[in-house]
Structure formats: structure tokens, C-alpha cells
Symmetry: C2
Subunit: 220 residues, 2 copies
């Protein structure tokens, strides 16, 4: 398990930069295993706790995931029998579905069937629930009076395939196969944040070219 | 303003599918203008309210944005003097920064400078705060013991440019220029959700090819 001595909560907080009340909150929420009580008033934590704590923190702070989804993803980290393919399906489901969602779905049966056909025609393998996700966004464009935005679909699908090729190439090259599930989760959650930032930068770049506007006042 | 008669809250709820308590909550939170009191016990709502309500709902439900960020984005919809370029910067900032964030930043000065140089070398125009966002994800990969994931950067940057080209081409073609800010926000927020769904589908597709595994039990 990689234990190399143990520390008290103050030291765990100091080395990870996570405040003590936050550590206690994560333990209560089941995101971090409780420490070992070695004395009536002493609880010890190990390197394993520090590692898990950094992972939780990264998903919450950088990945901006709500606690409930972090819990779902950690359950996958701790389940070593999954293949990467299954894992991607689970990961995606955990990232996309909001646990408490009870609102009705707006896409019609016809719209969903149409998207399923479109995805199948492109040779996509579609994990359960995803065609619905795509159909839902398109139905929302229509409801908001901008059906033209459905034009994003083709170009996005091509770019998404390019991103997935990069994901798999990089993830498959990470040496520690024991930590494959964790690497995949980190790569997917933080990869989303990374891609989102690069996408905004790219939009600003293309936008400045398409709409030159007045000379820029800023230093970028 | 496009008013064509007015309705009471029950009818507004029925036509938009948003429950009455939720409508009242959005009004309290400043996401929806209050209706007009036409009688001591009657408040009227118009098409403008219905439209705004659908927009809020789309950002919360499909875009999965927290209320605070929806409020920031709506302030941009209601500010008609922005050019698309400025708007992208503001949009991105509203989407990426979490209002209550007080945690220290993990990327070092050197790491940030390195990323800024890398982005400049690629000809990227970088809105304020974005180089930091990229540096932060890379620093987090390192802290989590998977620095190899920095290998995602190059391929992501290329794909992000492809996505931005699609965004601008589609958004620029939407006919109603008066609603440009709203279209851009809808396109960006829901476009993120659309791209995320397509990315998971693409990952499952590439993953199934790279790791064929046992014959699939499911029907996809």
C-alpha cells in the first residue's frame, strides 16, 4: 500500500495545503478514508491519505466537480476490475448525469432516433445515455430559437474524435498500469478543464481574426 | 420588446415546464425580472419572461452551470455594446472562474511563464487568466504524479482551434444579430455540453478499437 510512516491531521493539512476542516468534511462525505486511531486522542494518516486528498482536491478545485460526482468517480478508482473501455462509459456517465436530475427530457422520440442514426452512420460506438445527451442539446437549441446551432454537430464530432485519439495515446503511454483507472479519471476530469481553457484561448484567437475590431488596448 | 399579451405565473410555468416555486426562486436570485403587478393579487408575465426563463433553464439543466455563473452570463446578454471578441473573453472568464475561489494557485511563476511562451509561440491570443488556467492543470498533473499527461497539451490545442473555427463559422451565420450576445452564450454553454457528450462517445469509439476486449454484451 506504500505506507511510509504516518502523520497527524495537522501535518496532512500542511503537506497537502488542504485546511483541516475540509479534510474532516471529506472524511464525513466518504471521499477520504478515516485515519487510524492510534491513541484515544490521536488519529494517524498516511501517504495513501495524502495521495487521495490531492486527487479529491484536484477534481473539486481544478475539475470543478460537485462532491457527489467525485464520490462516484472514486468508487471507480477503487474498483480495479474494469477495462478501459467500460471505464470510459462509467466515467462519462458520472461526469454527465447529475444525480438529482428529475426534470423531463425535452428531446422527442423522433429527435433521439435521428441522432442515434447519425451517430451510427459515422461509426460511433455510443455508451448508453449519450445519444440522449446529444439530442437534448439540439432540442434545447430549437426551444431557444437558435436551431442553426445544430450546425456545430459535424465539426464538433470530428474534433471530438481528434481529442479522443490524443487521450488514448497519452493515457496508454502512462507507465503505471496499476493506477490506470486513476490516471484515466485524472486525465478525463482535468483534461476537460485543460481543453476548456484551450478552447477559450482558441475562440479569442479566431475571434480576433474574424472580427478585427479597433486596435486592442490590452497586452495580449 | 415583443410583448404579445401577458399571462399569470401558472400559465408561464405550464408553457415553459418550469415549476412555479422554481420561477419564484429565479426571480429572487435576479435571474428573471419580476412580473408586473396589475392587481393587488395578480402579477403578469410576458413572452420576454418566457424566453428568459427557457434560457436560464437551459444553462442550469443542460449547461449545468451554477446559479452565480448564470447570473454573470445574463448580465452580458443584457449589455448590448460588446463586440464578439470582448464577449468571448468575458464568457470564458464567467465559465472558468468560480466566484468563491480562495485556494492558493499551485502553478509556479516559472511554469506560468513557460506556458505563456508556449501559447505565444503558437500565435494564440490569450485572454487574461487563461495561461494561468492551463498552467494550473499541468501543475496539478505533476502534483498527482502523472506529469506524462502534459502530453495532452499539443493535440488538445490543435483540436481546440478546430472547435473554435466551427464555433465562429456557425455563430457568425445566425441571422439575428440583435441577439448575438445571447446566441454566443447559448452556443458556448450548450456547445460545451454538446462537445462533452461527443467527446465521451469518441472516447468509447477509440477505446473499443484500441482495447478490443471480450465481445461486447451490450447492444451499442
Amino acid at each position: 500500500m506504500g505506507y511510509e510512516g504516518s502523520v497527524r491531521i495537522g501535518e496532512l493539512s500542511r503537506t497537502t495545503g488542504v485546511p483541516v476542516p475540509t479534510i474532516k468534511y471529506y472524511v464525513r462525505e466518504g471521499l477520504l478514508p478515516a485515519g487510524t486511531r492510534t491513541h484515544p486522542n490521536q488519529v494517524d494518516y498516511t501517504d495513501t491519505h495524502a495521495h487521495r486528498l490531492r486527487l479529491v482536491r484536484a477534481m473539486v478545485e481544478v475539475g470543478r466537480l460537485p462532491i457527489g460526482r467525485v464520490r462516484e468517480l472514486l468508487a471507480e478508482v477503487d474498483e480495479p476490475t474494469r477495462g478501459p473501455d467500460t471505464l470510459y462509459g462509467i466515467l462519462g456517465a458520472a461526469l454527465l448525469t447529475s444525480a438529482g436530475r428529475t426534470e423531463p427530457v425535452h428531446a422527442t422520440e423522433t429527435e433521439r432516433a435521428e441522432i442515434e442514426r447519425w451517430l451510427a452512420d459515422r461509426g460511433f460506438r455510443v455508451p448508453e445515455g449519450y445519444a440522449e445527451g446529444v439530442a437534448e442539446v439540439l432540442a434545447t437549441f430549437r426551444r431557444l430559437g437558435v436551431p442553426e446551432l445544430a450546425g456545430l454537430l459535424d465539426g464538433y464530432a470530428t474534433a471530438a474524435m481528434a481529442v479522443a485519439e490524443v487521450d488514448l495515446a497519452v493515457l496508454a503511454a502512462v507507465p503505471d498500469r496499476d493506477a490506470a483507472a486513476e490516471t484515466m479519471i485524472v486525465g478525463t476530469v482535468l483534461g476537460d478543464a485543460l481543453f476548456a481553457a484551450l478552447r477559450r484561448i482558441a475562440q479569442a484567437t479566431v475571434s480576433a481574426r474574424v472580427f478585427p475590431g479597433p486596435p486592442d488596448q490590452s497586452q495580449c
